[in-house]
């Protein structure tokens, strides 16, 4: 049963992907702090590219989602319910924003810029994966309140 205007997904898929992201970010931090800054940056750049893909193509077409569908999901019972693809896709956008800052800081040679950005992105990915924390539930609303997103459809008179 597909709903093309609001695609539905297995909610465990994005949490699986967030878990992979969290581990990769820890590896990136470890490499960067151990002096292997180029290797740390390469891993970090791969995570960033993942967020680019997830933000633009949507969470359903994310590579981790494909891995989940092919290898993990067949081993699990069917999900209790499905969820909208929109919230996890928004979370990809948040991840992209944070990791892009890390990339810029690294290229600008700001010391510890990348590990700090990676640590922030790790906390978000970890909370989402392990505790089911919904990034969109707070951040999107704060952006709406700041008038950055979802501008009022009726102009002020």
């Amino acid at each position: 049963m597909s709903n093309t205007s609001h695609p539905q997904i297995d909610p465990r898929g994005p949490r699986f992907g967030a878990g992979i992201t969290a581990v990769l970010l820890l590896v990136s931090i470890a490499l960067s702090l151990s002096g292997l800054t180029t290797a740390g940056f390469i891993i970090f750049a791969l995570v960033t590219l993942g967020f680019v893909w997830g933000t633009i193509a949507g969470i359903q077409r994310h590579p981790y989602g494909v891995i989940f569908k092919k290898f993990v999901r067949p081993r699990l019972a069917p999900p209790a319910e499905f969820e909208d693809a929109a919230p996890p896709t928004f979370a990809q956008g948040v991840g992209l924003f944070v990791t892009l800052i890390g990339v810029i800081l690294f290229l600008a040679h700001v010391p510890l810029g990348l590990p700090i950005a990676a640590a922030a992105a790790f906390v978000a990915a970890f909370l989402n994966s392990v505790f089911g924390y919904c990034l969109g539930c707070q951040i999107y609303l704060l952006l709406v309140r700041a008038r950055v997103l979802g501008r009022a459809s009726t102009p002020a008179v």
Partner: protein, 145 residues
Amino acid sequence: MNPFVVTGLLIALVAFATALGFVYRSGNGRIRGADGRTIIRASDIPGIQLLGARATLLQFSTEVCAPCKPTRTLLGAIADESVDVQHIDVDLTHLPSVASRFNILQTPTTFILDGEGVVRARIGGAPRRADVREALDRILTLEPA
């Protein structure tokens, strides 16, 4: 950097994130009593015609809020159990002024209103059935059908 220091930092980072997770989990969905002074009228929120005659379960959602759909289902079911109790779901995406006015910091946020529109309780995050039922019963016993 010394590998032991690096390992220690990573462990500290994971521990910090875990602590945040438990803080989040313990506060999420907790029902809080309101000061009893905030009154909401249907005209305060664009698109709302009428509030419930005896009580209203007023939910605020956005489209990127994963727990909002199950909350909508739950609150709708609870409202159907009683006469003159309404469940209303407001999409805050294009209503930043409403979000600011009622100091809404996350979605879903649920206000439980009595028949006069007084906010009696607020719940940030996915509400628990027992909490909503209890708060609602307290309101309904003071306002018989």
